[in-house]
């Protein structure tokens, strides 16, 4: 897909979930057998233009996520290239067993897009937040899990997932006015992390909206004479093992995620790290296995210590 600079700015303004609908629209122009399925959330997923432009490639299943995954699998079994999308908790947990059987066990190739994952919908409560999706889907064999760092990476990841042969889950975090991590087009490869900043003291791994927060934290750490390598671990499964091995040369590994610290990016890193002979301590930053009181996105990031300032405080406390 050809990426224009002005698109990158516009996508950042509208946020990842509106961007994904526009990206699907562009992909549908190139891919004849593309189908987009959703569950009564077309506007939230930025699909209104898609629906008008390609009504024959669009299906709304109503508020019935289990049926959506089954129908998607039926279409995929007949060689349609299917994207499904709804809010992350409903895209992953309401239909979890359908995902296991159809995408996992039967290996039907579907790209699922979970919109507004993490804490972005905090004012609506934890029914609509999603801090469990990565942990749950990681335990199903064969599903690629990608958490894009910004709106441009959302487009890159969707294109890569749709063109891949594997079933996948795209976890979209952040809200509108999604901070830009990538201001120019770049090479995105599923499973290959991207070092955004070099550093020698510690390595910070993050994904999704936490990548920008990590870069900001690294700037503050630099002023405190702590040199931080920042890695965008956009693909959580399969995890980039080489990047973890290289990180073992620094004094501390930090994982930062907008997810429960159980089961997510930090767990995936530690599962590989613990197999290595020599590795440094790991600091797990994320939601500490709790449903806190709700509030807006900013409030919840503060509460769960996922702002650059709080991240720095926790790193300074833990660096040896």
């Amino acid at each position: 897909m050809i990426i224009k600079d002005r698109d990158i700015k516009m996508w950042s303004t509208i946020g990842a979930r509106a961007t994904v609908g526009l990206a699907a629209l562009e992909l549908a122009k190139q891919i004849d057998n593309l189908m987009v399925l959703t569950c009564d959330v077309s506007t939230s997923a930025g699909l209104d233009r898609f629906k008008k432009t390609f009504p024959e490639k669009y299906l709304d299943l109503g508020i019935a996520e289990q049926n959506m995954i089954g129908v998607a699998a039926g279409l995929a079994s007949e060689n349609f290239n299917v994207i499904t999308t709804t809010f992350a908790p409903f895209q992953t947990m309401r239909c979890c067993e359908q995902i296991k059987v159809n995408l996992g066990y039967m290996r039907q190739k579907i790209c699922m897009v979970g919109i507004a994952s993490g804490l972005a919908l905090g004012t609506l409560g934890y029914t609509h937040c999603c801090i469990e999706d990565v942990g749950i889907l990681r335990s199903i064999p064969g599903i690629t899990i990608i958490s894009p760092a910004d709106s441009l990476e959302t487009v890159k990841a969707l294109e890569a997932a749709v063109n891949s042969d594997n079933p996948s889950y795209l976890r979209l975090t952040g809200s509108s006015n999604n901070p830009i991590v990538y201001s120019k087009d770049y090479e995105f490869k599923i499973g290959k992390s991207i070092t955004l900043r070099e550093g020698k003291d510690i390595t910070i791994f993050s994904s999704g909206a936490m990548v920008y927060q990590s870069l900001e934290a690294a700037k503050i750490l630099e002023s405190k004479k702590i040199s931080s390598k920042v890695i965008n671990m956009h693909t959580i499964k399969p995890i980039d093992k080489l990047a973890i091995e290289e990180a073992c040369e620094t004094r501390l590994i930090v994982s930062i995620e907008e997810h429960n610290v159980i089961g997510g990016l930090g767990s995936a890193i530690s599962e590989h790290k613990s197999t290595l002979k020599k590795s440094p301590k790991q600091l797990f930053l994320g939601i500490k296995d709790t449903y806190s009181k709700g509030g807006n996105y900013k409030f919840l990031k503060e509460k769960h210590r996922l702002t650059p300032e709080k991240i720095v405080e926790d790193i300074v406390l833990n660096i040896e």
Binding site: G70, E78, N102
Partner: protein
């Protein structure tokens, strides 16, 4: 069915007889691992009518693009499915003997294997109808002319996901989709009435917008007559098939102990004798 109607019925009856023979062989070879016996026998005439008469298939090519698609949503009844695929010629007699053995292609619930004619993995109840909707939509989008046949159990209709699918199919005007509900009145641990009364299934499916028919699921002539006329119906079709769980053997008919049970050598021999009398 025309002039050869009687021959056709006879042909399906013979197919069903062979299917029951295969079922016995697989069940006895499974031994102590047990087999889902009752729910396979209740749909033997239905599956036989589909594979020997109604469905468009190519006996030489299980992957033929134009074939009608079959989904055994009540996947535990796989004995009858494997037996029918053997009769069609997709699964060899030798392969049938591997049923539920280590490393087999023929586990106690179907696992997708298109070389053997198994189009989907099933076993977790309530999922096959949604798959069928996706496949039926594909048939229309690809401008193919194939039909989709899904068999669900009456107990399976306890699952909420069945009703998500039931609501969706008429919305998409899927006149190429058939759901056959095996109404044998039992589920795993008792009768429907004891466990979860499914009520009037014909009324329920009708109210969701399906063309609904109730018939005797063991009457091959009735099944054929329905299918013969059914292509004129412009709605998705639900067939409430009244059946007898364990049909065909005196010891298993309407005896829910045979839902999932061990077929011993001595009962197998008794059953074989009953079959030979038919």
């Amino acid at each position: 069915m025309g002039i050869n109607e009687e021959d056709q019925i006879k042909n399906i009856e013979n197919f069903a007889l062979q299917v029951r023979r295969h079922i016995l062989e697989m069940a006895v070879s499974a031994g102590a691992d047990s087999a889902h016996f009752g729910g396979a026998l209740s749909i033997t005439e239905i599956v036989s009518t589909l594979f020997a008469y109604q469905m468009k298939i190519d006996k030489k090519n299980p992957k033929w693009e134009e074939r009608d698609r079959f989904i055994l949503s009540k996947g535990h009844a796989c004995l009858v499915y494997y037996a029918a695929l053997c009769e069609v010629g997709y699964i060899s007699n030798n392969e049938l003997k591997t049923f539920e053995k280590n490393d087999t292609n023929l586990l106690g619930h179907p696992v997708i294997n298109r070389n053997l004619g198994i189009d989907f993995s099933n076993g977790s109840l309530g999922m096959g109808l949604s798959l069928g909707i996706g496949v039926a939509i594909s048939s229309k989008k690809k401008k193919k002319n194939f039909n989709v046949y899904v068999i669900v159990g009456d107990g399976e209709c306890n699952e909420g996901s069945i009703w998500e699918g039931a609501m969706a199919a008429p919305n998409f005007k899927l006149d190429n989709l058939y759901v056959i509900i095996d109404k044998n009145n039992f589920q795993q641990t008792g009768s429907n009435k004891e466990i979860m009364n499914v009520g009037n299934l014909k009324d329920k499916w009708s109210s969701f917008g399906w063309h609904t028919t109730e018939l005797d699921g063991h009457n091959i002539r009735d099944l054929c007559n329905f299918f013969k006329e059914s292509n004129k119906i412009t709605k998705p079709k639900a067939i409430i098939a009244n059946t007898i769980k364990g049909k065909g053997f005196s010891f298993s008919e309407n005896n829910n102990d045979w839902h999932h049970s061990i077929l011993s050598k001595s009962i197998y021999e008794k059953a074989l004798k009953e079959l030979e009398k038919k």
